[in-house]
């Protein structure tokens, strides 16, 4: 290759990064800080570089097989941001464990695996054909299996990983089966060619769509394929749960966006009822499931199931609206979710990760209680926090094509959701403190990250220039 265009550099860096991080282990000891520093510098550099790629370029095809679209660049930012926060969150779990589990080891491999999963997500959004698409999905998923079982001495983690692998493999099989039908229908694996063929749908296409939705339903935790999520979220180490809930969900939703506005664009009208139905049922069961939880991460699992349902509503709108809504939502969802996990992480370092551990938090550590309230209210979609604007975008997109039924259903469900988010806040604000709870200590990094995320969640929604600039030159 004689010429490498600059928009491809972040992708290449991200491909090299995990090898660098893991490779550095050949030269340094396990407890060295060097791999962690390399990963930090690398990821932040990649994030910065992504911000320098000018938007408004539409699609840029690299060797005709790697599509760096505007949507793709913003999705990359979401994924890399999630990786950065995930790496920051995980650091303390290598020093002194959490949630009653021993400290993990092999931080270099851990971070490298997160970077691999991120690269998988990027492959999905850059794909131009079914083969790359499938590869990307697998590169994004397989590291997650490993990460789930990272704490080798933890039985619950191994159980979760086993469950996840079994379910995930079945999902992959469904996916592949759907792809094969899609290939059989169109006679090609190129997206643009499939799109042309889909203008004349026949039953083969419907079967393909059915299987594709089943397959991605597992990864996006859509009804009725969400059942693995609570167990895996509960069993995995906390930073892995956080990465899982953001990176893996973002990858899955990117996959759906690529399909619905790519190869399946001609039949989007016909599959809209399916999307609306999946969205409605998913957010309803997610909200119902979260009502009675007492463990924090199980609760976050159901909450993220419900969020998946909300995201699906955006897919009812047209391409520009849906992509804007989804990008915006994923950004604020990532920030709010990580904020919640950082707070839970600090709780978990000293106590059990359950609602009872939050009791009296507002009296012991008021800034942590404020951060928790901000995270929960943002996830619940209460203005002026970013989460509200995220949900507003989603509903806006859904309503733009006249799907008021699902929008009314979703906003009513939001009240249900508010109830269980309030349960968390109640533990921290209304309940009296237990005397025997261990006091909380924060490291300097944790304190700074929490301040940063809290400020971001408060300001991103109300300060217009942040989102306006991003979306001003956005072509879809």
């Amino acid at each position: 290759m004689s010429y490498i265009p600059n928009y491809i550099i972040p992708d290449l860096l991200l491909l090299i990064l995990p090898f660098l991080v893991i490779g550095s282990r050949l030269f340094v000891k396990d407890n060295s800080k060097i791999p962690w520093r390399i990963a930090n510098i690398g990821l932040v550099l990649i994030f910065a570089l992504l911000n320098f790629i000018p938007l408004a370029g539409g699609s840029r095809f690299f060797i005709n097989n790697w599509n760096v679209s505007d949507f793709g660049i913003l999705m990359r930012e979401v994924l890399v941001l999630s990786a950065i926060l995930g790496v920051w969150l995980s650091k303390d779990y290598f020093n002194h464990g959490g949630d009653g589990k021993p400290a993990m080891n092999q931080i270099a491999e851990f971070i490298g695996t997160i970077a691999f999963a991120t690269f998988g997500g990027i492959t999905v959004i850059s794909a131009c054909d079914l083969l790359t698409f499938f590869l990307g999905l697998e590169i994004a998923t397989i590291p997650m299996y490993a990460l789930t079982a990272w704490n080798k001495r933890d039985q619950l983690g191994s159980e979760a990983a086993t469950k996840y692998i079994l379910m995930g493999s079945v999902a992959t099989a469904f996916e592949l089966f759907g792809f094969s039908y899609l290939y059989g229908f169109a006679g090609t694996i190129r997206f643009d060619a499939i799109q042309t063929a889909a203008s004349n749908p026949n039953p083969l296409l419907w079967i393909a769509i059915l299987f594709l939705f089943c397959g991605i339903g597992f990864k996006l935790t859509l009804f009725p394929f969400y059942t693995w999520a609570p167990d895996v979220y509960e069993g995995a180490p906390t930073p892995v749960t956080a990465v899982l809930s953001v990176t893996s969900k973002a990858t899955a939703i990117a996959f759906l966006v690529m399909l619905v506005y790519g190869p399946l664009a001609p039949v989007r009208e016909q599959i809209a009822p399916l999307i609306a139905l999946l969205a409605g049922v998913t957010l309803f069961v997610g909200n119902l499931g979260a009502l009675k939880q007492s463990r924090l991460r199980r609760f976050m699992a159901y909450s993220s199931i419900a969020q998946a349902g909300y995201i699906m509503i955006a897919l009812l709108g047209d391409s520009a609206m849906a992509k804007t809504a989804i990008i915006y939502y994923l950004f604020v969802y990532a920030l709010s979710n990580y904020l919640a996990f950082f707070v839970f992480g600090i709780i978990g370092h000293h106590r059990e990760e359950s609602f009872d551990s939050l009791r009296g938090l507002s009296k012991q550590n008021v800034s942590l209680a404020v951060a928790l309230a901000v995270a929960m209210f943002s996830l619940a979609g209460i203005p002026p926090l970013a989460g509200f604007f995220g949900k507003f975008h989603l509903f806006f997109s859904g309503a733009s094509t006249g799907h008021y039924g699902i929008v009314v259903f979703a906003v009513l469900n939001n009240v249900l959701a508010l109830y269980y988010y309030l349960q968390v806040i109640k533990s921290a604000w209304a309940d009296e403190a237990d005397e025997h709870l261990t006091p909380l200590r924060m490291t300097r990094r944790q304190r700074w990250v929490i301040v940063l995320l809290t400020v971001a969640v408060i300001l991103i929604g109300i300060l217009p220039f942040l989102s306006n600039n991003v979306f001003a030159g956005f072509t879809f």
Binding site: P383, L422, F471
Partner: protein, 511 residues
């Protein structure tokens, strides 16, 4: 210049929170001082702007503000992807509501001076709540309106759960979730207004220039009206308010009953009825039927209660019912009465909850059967309570009389038999109001005094000042209602013109 000052109304409270954020919580005196100064500043600012509006009244600031005769009009693009604008402006209607809010917030800040718990966070939350209420009354853009409208839920829950008394989590959740239920209905219909209107605008002014499709109006109006009615505790959505008030700290009760419950009625008038007048004409007679509960049964329930806050809450429910009676009559006098009642009841209930809070701080009970002889130890607070009660039952000289009589005249002007029957019932129910007010005052203030009350003291200067200011407001409206109703009339005229010009299709749906 005035426009800039107008925008400061909601910015100052927010700015105060930011200023106080880095100050350590131990320096509570400094923090409280800053908040007190800020609340006083906003109050003076709003009073000045009300005066400015009085001198300018009746003229729109510019072409864009014309449909509502707005002054201090600002319109800046805000969120491009949503086509939302930062659009604020004032006419007589919302200016007086802003003034009411400023007074109640000022009183709320000073009434919570000795609150227990983390004072820094509490005062920050009061200011956030103030921001949200100011914002609701100022916004002329529906997205901006909704952002401010729902922001209240966040502050309310934290304040009740963190600083309330009794079943604070239960009361707080009930209040927050019911209000969220209401605002979710509003949100859904806002999307409909944006897309179904065909002009893709969130501006109240722009939307008022066109006729929204009738079949959309027919289902959207009841949804939106219901959403707003929830926060004004219209039957059958009144259940949150007694429990919510009972567990809330004094300042929150004052703000909730005094100001936030008016947001619903304001939204009904300014958004639901103004933008969907055709459907309003069809649906509002049904609302009148529901009002029988609020207006007639509310006082009877208050009669049965022993807890002061429950009594006041049910009294608020009946007074808010009168606002809706004025609205549902759709006569110019009725609408003016409704607007007057919003303002009058705000001061009135603020005074009620303030005195109750002050008495509770001393007696540590709100059960009137446990109290007695308070007048002997706390004459000032006792008189404040009695004044609030008398103003509430419509004693001439206080604002309640002006507002309620205007509503009754306006509602009787409506020719429908149902409205007239409800009006007559409402007038009769004042007797019931008198019974529970007098009974409560009698049991609490007179009779045998429990021995443990010997050591109690009357209100301090701070508390007396709050009561004096609130009573002054009640008297001011009661004795000089002319200037305020003139300004209200001017700003209600365009709304009434739009509603009376609307011709409801004969068949109901489809026109």
């Amino acid at each position: 210049m005035d426009t800039l000052l107008f925008n400061l109304i909601w910015l100052i409270p927010l700015f105060t929170v930011l200023v106080c954020a880095p100050i350590p919580g131990a320096k509570a005196k400094l923090i409280k001082g800053i908040h007190g100064v800020s609340a006083t500043l906003v109050l003076l600012l709003v009073a000045y702007l009300t005066y400015r509006l009085y001198t300018l009244s009746g003229t729109p600031a510019n072409e864009a503000a014309a449909p509502l005769l707005l002054q201090f009009f600002t319109d800046i693009p805000w969120i491009a992807a949503l086509n939302a604008h930062y659009m604020v402006g004032a006419d007589g209607l919302n200016m007086f509501l802003l003034l009411l809010t400023a007074v109640i917030v000022w009183a709320g800040v000073f009434v919570s001076w000795e609150i227990k718990g983390n004072q820094k966070v509490f005062f920050a939350l009061i200011q956030m709540l103030a921001t949200s209420v100011y914002g609701v009354f100022m916004s002329m853009d529906l997205v901006l309106f909704f952002v401010f409208y729902e922001m209240e839920a966040l502050c309310m829950y934290l304040m009740i759960a963190g600083y309330g008394s009794g079943r604070k989590d239960y009361g707080g959740k009930k209040l927050t979730l019911t209000l969220a239920f209401g605002s979710s209905m509003i949100l859904a219909t806002l999307f409909g207004l944006y897309f179904e209107s065909g002009i893709h605008s969130w501006s109240i002014m722009e939307l008022s220039k066109i006729t929204i499709p009738m079949d959309f109006q027919m289902w959207a109006f009841p949804l939106m009206f219901m959403g707003f009615a929830v926060s004004s505790s219209l039957f059958p959505f009144h259940f949150w308010s007694p429990d919510g008030h009972a567990s809330a700290p004094t300042a929150v009760s004052m703000l909730a009953a005094g100001v936030m419950m008016k947001m619903g009625a304001y939204g009904c008038l300014r958004i639901a009825m103004f933008l969907m007048p055709e459907a309003a004409k069809i649906w509002l007679p049904w609302v009148v039927a529901f009002l029988i509960f609020n207006v007639v049964l509310g006082p009877f329930i208050a009669l049965r209660h022993k807890d002061l806050k429950y009594i006041t809450a049910y009294s608020s429910i009946s007074h808010l019912g009168l606002i809706f009676l004025g609205l549902a009559a759709i006569t110019p006098v009725g609408l003016r009465g409704a607007a007057l009642q919003m303002i009058s009841h705000g001061f009135l209930t603020g005074l009620f909850f303030a005195t109750i809070g002050m008495i509770y701080e001393r007696t540590h009970t709100r059960d009137i059967t446990q109290m007695g002889g308070i007048m002997r130890k706390m004459p000032f607070l006792g008189v404040g309570f009695v004044i609030a009660g008398f103003a509430g039952l419509g004693l001439p000289g206080f604002s309640g009389f002006v507002a309620e009589s205007t509503i009754f005249i306006g509602a009787f002007g409506q020719e429908s038999t149902l409205t007239r029957i409800v009006t007559i019932l409402a007038i009769l129910s004042i007797t019931t109001t008198a019974v529970y007010i007098l009974q409560t005052a009698n049991r609490m203030l007179h009779g045998n005094m429990p021995a443990k009350y010997e050591t109690l003291t009357d209100g301090c200067f701070r508390e007396k000042l709050i009561i004096v200011v609130l009573v002054a407001c009640l008297l001011l409206i009661g004795i000089f209602p002319g200037w305020i109703s003139n300004m209200l009339d001017q700003s209600i005229a365009p709304i009434f013109a739009k509603i009376s010009a609307a011709t409801a299709p004969v068949n109901g749906i489809g026109g």
